[in-house]
């Protein structure tokens, strides 16, 4: 921190002419200064030495400077002022800094003696200075902390066209009797802009002693002067001004009409504050009752507001009357003001008015009462729910819970039995918003109500509240005597259920009374299983039910659910169903297998695809077979490629082959690329083969440049599609720019340290991998299709304020010098074979090859470990090894 540039927010700079202005160099508080040549050092302890020591570098130096300077006495301040020059006339930057800093320093509490002495010196300087620009600077400093000691000097400037404004603003800031008198005394001889300035100042200071002189300007032909006078009269609030302000508010038209009316109402407020409450209110009432034109709505609103300021709560009865107006904005203003009053007495007044109010108003009042939060209004809100008018009932339903909370639950549950749909929906919405688990339990109790509509509504509200813990209670309603309730319960279980709802749902499935219920139960069962984290517990109830003597539709539903279980027992049961005499059961089994959630059904599906007597089942099974190949977690991409090739051989229809090619696009090895490439020349499959080949190429290009380039060449010869050629170009460019980037890493972390934040804070924290302690290293392949050379740590952890370590093995055919190119977001540290070789403590974005590090590779295996720090946002690493001149380094192999 320095003393420099503490600009005064009060700064006013008025320059006399454009010519003067153009002579300036300028900027901020030191506007207009130019440094000149350096002088020899001044003797210690002198004013000259103190000034030369500026700028200060911290708060302590600042205080020392000020104390030492003030200790030199008033003459030193005079000397400083004497050194002020007009901007552009010399170097007084440090002098200005000094005076500005001193003004702020002496203004602090408990420095009255220093303050007075300092400003007396400034006043003396102001009196003798001729330059208006220098005087303006001195006035600005006076405004900071000056007082009566400078008033006489400022008063002399109030007739000056250039200095009246800053001098007046300083005097207003002092707001003392003496400073006010100075402005008042200057008013009679003022005119034009100066008069406007002085009138406004006297208004701001509410100087009633200037009333007579101000009044003289109230009918001035100069709009600016007249409005300034009206402003001043309104602020002073003397009753003698009433007619003048009333006439202005009435007669002034056009743009200034709003301002004149504003002054009139401000006058009313000041009048009331000065003791004449009745007259003040009379003005408000007059404005309210006469400004009824739609354009004047804001005046009516303002009149109500001023009345409320004058009367406080006592305005309420009048406010309530105004609420009967058709003007929506005025009504809203009345409501807003009324809402600001609290207490039982006010509530009682509302209640009394409510009885005779129109339906619309009753509705508005109910909402208002709910917002005010006085519990005494609760009976009114409950009564409103039974009002004969729908608009009132709706308002009561929407508002009652805000005031009554859980106590409104029973009434709102009752409202669910209303005939009007809008009211039912409003009641549901209100019930949904009531806070707390107790409220959820109370609403759940509505499931036992005697009215079916309430039981149904309560279930729907529980769904909207996401009340998973109420699934058991909802399941009971699944056996309700009323079908609507049963269906609502099944739908609710579908929305809320998980593995713990499966037993109940199987039971409900077995006892379902209608086809629709069976369908809903099946849907709920599937949704619950899909949402389950562990489906193993579902196996037993499903298989037990399947072994029971259940109807065909139920059997089909159970088979459909088994696909989520996916166990051997589930698979056996489903396979057995394939031999059923019931075609519906066989169909359900095939469909369940086709959507089996793991790869265990692969061989069954393959067999069905080849041998089923039904064309539909063969198609379904074939699609399921191809899908399950992709799910085979025990098979690597190579094995999957082999399986896909078998699938293509098995396929009898072109669309099935196309589907296999689509699935193969997800694999990432050069064998699958070769397999896909076989179909590039097959006209029926060419489009799909190109898409798959490009996708695989994009994923493997950096490690298999030659193979990919060969396929790209073929594609380029086959296709003239713009998007295809663009993708070919992109992959070629990628190979060119990013070949040899390391794509397989082992990652450890993230690591954090309490109290260490941001990338820079974590850079030097030594975590376990640096200490060679045992940590878990996870193998990670870079796989972003767009940037396969980029290791994105955010995919591993979303941690912030952390560090992560990535390591890899590089095999070199011989001992050799090389260049390791690294880019990282954020900072980075690099070790080669356990030796620290490079560090960059930075909070930077990722740029490939940002750091080019000279390293030496040993013959055989080399370990490269890189630490990357993270504050927040992106968190990346990319690295490759090149020859020392940046060219490709042959013979080096990366970890796979």
């Amino acid at each position: 921190m320095t003393l420099l540039r503490k600009s005064s927010p009060n700064a006013i700079m008025i320059l006399t002419s454009a010519l003067t202005a153009l002579a300036l160099m300028f900027g901020g508080c030191a506007r207009g200064q130019v440094k000149t040549e350096t002088k020899p050092p001044a003797p210690e302890g002198t004013l000259e030495q103190l000034i030369a020591s500026l700028p200060t570098q911290n708060a302590e130096d600042n205080e020392t400077f000020c104390r030492k300077t003030l200790a030199l006495g008033p003459n030193a301040i005079q000397q400083l002022c004497d050194q002020l020059v007009e901007p552009g006339e010399g170097d007084d930057i440090n002098v200005r800094y000094a005076l500005h800093g001193l003004a702020e320093f002496v203004g602090a509490p408990d420095r009255e003696t220093e303050r007075k002495s300092f400003y007396e010196s400034l006043a003396e300087a102001l009196d003798k200075t001729e330059s208006k620009l220098v005087r303006t600077f001195l006035i600005e400093q006076m405004q900071i902390a000056g007082g009566d000691e400078v008033v006489d000097s400022l008063a002399k400037l109030l007739d000056d066209n250039d200095l009246c404004e800053p001098a007046t603003q300083a005097l207003v800031a002092f707001a003392t009797e003496k400073s006010t008198a100075a402005i008042r005394n200057a008013l009679p001889n003022s005119s034009g802009a100066n008069r406007v300035t002085l009138l406004c100042a006297l208004g701001t200071l509410r100087d009633d002693q200037a009333l007579a002189e101000i009044t003289k300007s109230a009918n001035s032909g100069d709009d600016a002067v007249r409005l300034a006078a009206l402003y001043a009269l309104s602020e002073i609030g003397d009753e003698s001004s009433k007619d003048i302000l009333a006439d202005a508010a009435e007669s002034i038209s056009g743009f200034h009409r709003a301002e004149a009316n504003h002054f009139y109402l401000t006058f009313a407020q000041r009048l009331a504050e000065n003791g004449n409450v009745e007259e003040g209110l009379a003005i408000c009432r007059e404005v309210y009752s006469t400004r009824t034109d739609p354009d004047d709505t804001a005046f009516q609103c303002a009149a109500l507001h001023v009345m409320s300021r004058v009367l406080g709560e006592d305005v309420l009865s009048e406010l309530l009357e105004t609420m009967t107006t058709d003007n929506e904005q005025v009504r809203e203003q009345a409501m807003t003001i009324a809402n600001s009053f609290s207490g039982n007495q006010v509530t009682r007044q509302f209640a009394e008015f409510y009885r005779t109010a129109s339906p619309d108003l009753r509705a508005g009042l109910l909402r208002l009462l709910a917002r005010r939060g006085d519990g005494k209004a609760m009976p009114l809100l409950f009564a409103g729910m039974d009002d004969s008018e729908k608009v009132v009932r709706l308002a009561a339903i929407e508002s009652v819970s805000a005031l009554a909370g859980g106590a409104s639950i029973n009434a709102l549950l009752d409202a669910l039995a209303n005939e009007d749909k809008e009211e039912i929906e409003a009641a549901k919405a209100a019930l949904t918003k009531i806070p707390g688990s107790d409220a959820t339990a109370d609403i759940s109790a509505g499931i036992a109500d005697k009215h079916p509509a309430i039981r149904t509504g309560a279930i729907e509200v529980l769904v909207a509240r996401g009340a998973r813990d109420q699934a058991k209670n909802i399941a009971i309603a699944g056996k309700d005597e009323d079908e609507t309730v049963r269906l609502a319960a099944l739908k609710a279980l579908g929305a809320l259920g998980n593995e713990s709802a499966v037993s109940d749902l199987v039971d409900l499935l077995l006892t379902a009374k209608t086809t629709q219920e069976i369908k809903e139960a099946e849907k709920a069962l599937n949704l619950s299983l899909e949402r389950s984290e562990d489906t193993s517990a579902a196996e037993q109830p499903l298989l037990v039910a399947l072994r029971s003597d259940c109807d065909v539709p139920v059997r089909c539903a159970l088979l459909s659910a088994l696909k989520y279980v996916g166990s051997n027992s589930a698979l056996r049961a489903t396979r057995r169903a394939l031999g059923s005499d019931e075609p519906e059961v066989v169909d359900a089994a095939v469909r369940s297998l086709a959507e089996w959630q793991n790869a265990s059904a692969m061989n069954v599906l393959k067999n069905l695809a080849a041998n089923s007597s039904s064309q539909v089942h063969r198609v379904l099974a074939f699609r399921g077979y191809v899908r399950t190949i992709g799910l085979a977690s025990d098979k690597d991409d190579m094995a999957k490629t082999t399986l896909y090739e078998e699938a293509i051989a098995l396929a009898t229809r072109p669309e099935d082959r196309k589907m296999v090619l689509g699935a193969m696009a997800e694999t990432r090895n050069k064998e699958s690329l070769a397999a896909v490439a076989k179909y590039l020349d097959d006209e029926t499959l060419q489009d799909e083969a190109i898409v798959a080949a490009l996708k695989i190429s994009g994923s493997i290009a950096l490690k298999n440049g030659a193979e990919v380039t060969a396929v790209l060449d073929r594609i380029q010869g086959l296709s003239d599609k713009e998007s295809t050629l663009k993708e070919v170009d992109r992959i070629r460019q990628q190979i060119e720019e990013f070949e040899d980037y390391i794509t397989v890493w082992e990652v450890a972390g993230p690591f954090r340290e309490k109290g260490k934040e941001g990338p820079k804070g974590l850079y030097d924290v030594v975590f376990a991998p640096e200490k060679k302690e045992k940590v878990e290293w996870r193998k990670v392949s870079t796989d972003a299709p767009e940037k396969p050379w980029l290791l994105d740590f955010n995919k591993i952890s979303r941690a912030t304020h952390a560090a992560v370590y990535a390591r890899t093995e590089v095999t070199s055919p011989k001992k050799q010098k090389a260049r390791l190119e690294v880019g990282s977001d954020d900072g980075v540290k690099v070790w080669v074979n356990g030796k620290f070789v490079y560090g960059k403590n930075d909070a930077r974005g990722f740029t490939p090859g940002d750091d080019k590090i000279a390293i030496e590779l040993a013959e055989g295996e080399n370990t490269i470990m890189i630490k990357v720090t993270q504050g927040g946002g992106d968190w990346d690493l990319g690295a490759r090894i090149r020859a020392t001149d940046g060219s490709r380094l042959s013979g080096v192999k990366y970890m796979e």
């Binding site: 600009s7 160099m25 203004g107 509490p109 802009a193 402003y231 743009f255 504003h262 354009d295």
Partner: protein, 449 residues
């Protein structure tokens, strides 16, 4: 200047027309379906008519946002820079010309003096995107006239100006939306809801990181700048308005004004206005301010720009929460509690948390749900129609801006300051008290409420 009306002139009152006009049966002219809103468009009588004051960078952006709405019609644009004005008028005209086939309206008048816009009786609302020192006067004049206002952030240049705007809006029953659009961002709302509902335990610290230095646009204006002739078509004196007179130089005005204390407060108010606003939201202190503030800063040693280039400010709220705003902290707003933290407006999703699982939490029914708005400009228009409070109403905008101003004063004075959030004054420090307000250059005057 084309289409300019005099500030004392009168024009057809739209509200008067709407209040009295009745289309008689058998009217002797054909009313197009679009005029009645029968072809899917909004009938003119249901459109909000909008005037745009200040149509440079942010103003043009805001105006474009409003042009998206079928129920809004921009009928006036205003700027002291003719180039901005022409661009805005052309933009509006072209927009409506493209829509004319579907029956949308056309006609947008251009003005140099904002008072000419406020003088019109057929404008419902104003968008004000002038520099900070030019917010208060047009806002107060507009609400006195009965207009609703969308005003850019920071709402005010000083705390008394902000209070005057709040009072005026309240007195005249107007709708005001502050341009702190993070109030309409899901990530900010959700982050604040996590804090308000205790997901990070008890909130104890809020950290706001702001950039250092300046981001200067439009040229190299670093260092001392030479005075230059005012370009033709730019009413520079009007641009300065209530601010102290200073010679013209291009680096002073458009966009870069924010680095000069006469018109703004540097990053403390430029980005601070956004982040303080989020902090207030998450802290649940929308309607109040801290009880103490202390700061220090570094200011440039020369040149045109004089706002702090580095700063460290500490605020303390009555609820015990400490808020640190510093150029040495990570960007945006971080709420720290006894059991975790929420960092709003950072990372790929605009929200980072610890523990990370907080990001996937849901706010249950009955917990604190903050004001929901998905589109800041749309919210303003909807609130004009419903008279409901906006996402960032005057008091909220004022309190957020007040944090910028308190911080700036603390950085200048470098001593602990007590603040009375009710009376909005420094109770024990008359010097700090004087720094609260700024004088206005004649003839401009804050005829405060």
């Amino acid at each position: 200047m084309g289409n300019k009306t005099q500030i004392n002139g009168t024009s057809l009152s739209r509200r008067r027309f709407l209040g009295t006009a009745v289309l008689g049966l058998g009217a002797p002219f054909v009313v197009p379906a679009s005029a009645l809103g029968l072809n899917g468009t909004t009938a003119p009588s249901n459109r909000i008519t909008l005037g745009c004051i200040g149509v440079g960078g942010m103003g043009m952006g805001n105006m474009n946002s409003f042009l998206r709405f079928d129920d809004v019609q921009v009928i006036a644009v205003c700027d002291v820079d003719q180039a901005h004005l022409n661009a805005a008028q052309n933009r509006v005209t072209q927009h409506y010309a493209a829509a004319t086939e579907s029956g949308s309206p056309s006609g947008c008048d251009a003005y140099e003096d904002f008072r000419d816009v406020i003088a019109r009786d057929d404008i419902d609302a104003l968008m004000i995107a002038t520099p900070d020192h030019w917010h208060t006067i047009p806002v107060i004049m507009a609400v006195q006239k009965g207009m609703d206002v969308y005003c850019e952030k920071p709402l005010s240049l000083t705390i008394p100006e902000g209070r005057a705007m709040v009072n005026a809006v309240k007195r005249y029953g107007r709708i005001l939306q502050t341009g702190t659009w993070r109030r309409s961002r899901t990530n900010c709302r959700f982050g604040c809801e996590l804090v308000r509902n205790g997901r990070i335990g008890k909130l104890h610290t809020i950290k706001i990181g702001l950039p250092k230095g300046y981001q200067i646009r439009g040229g190299d204006f670093g260092g001392i700048q030479p005075p230059m002739p005012v370009p033709e078509g730019f009413n520079y004196d009007f641009w300065l308005g209530p601010a102290p007179w200073a010679p013209y130089t291009p680096g002073r005005c458009h966009f870069n004004f924010r680095w000069i204390m006469d018109y703004s407060e540097g990053y403390i108010s430029d980005w601070g206005a956004h982040y303080f606003d989020v902090a207030q939201w998450g802290n649940g202190t929308d309607m109040t301010s801290p009880v103490s503030v202390q700061g220090k800063g570094v200011f440039p040693k020369e040149g045109l720009y004089d706002a702090a280039i580095e700063h460290h400010i500490e605020y303390t709220y009555a609820n015990g929460v400490k808020m640190i705003c510093s150029t040495d902290l990570l960007g945006a707003v971080r709420f720290e509690g006894t059991e975790g933290w929420v960092h709003v407006d950072t990372g790929p999703t605009g929200l980072e948390t610890f523990p990370e699982s907080l990001r996937h939490e849901t706010i249950a029914p009955g917990e604190i749900h903050l004001y929901e708005s998905a589109d800041h400009h749309r919210n303003f228009i909807d609130c004009i129609k419903t008279r409901r409070e906006t996402a960032a109403p005057a008091e909220v905008g004022h309190r957020s801006a007040a944090l910028c101003h308190l911080g700036s004063i603390a950085v200048v004075l470098e001593r602990p300051l007590k603040w009375d959030p009710e009376k909005e004054c420094f109770p024990d420090d008359s010097e700090a008290q004087r720094l609260l307000a700024r004088s206005m250059r004649s003839p401009w005057n804050l005829r405060a409420l």
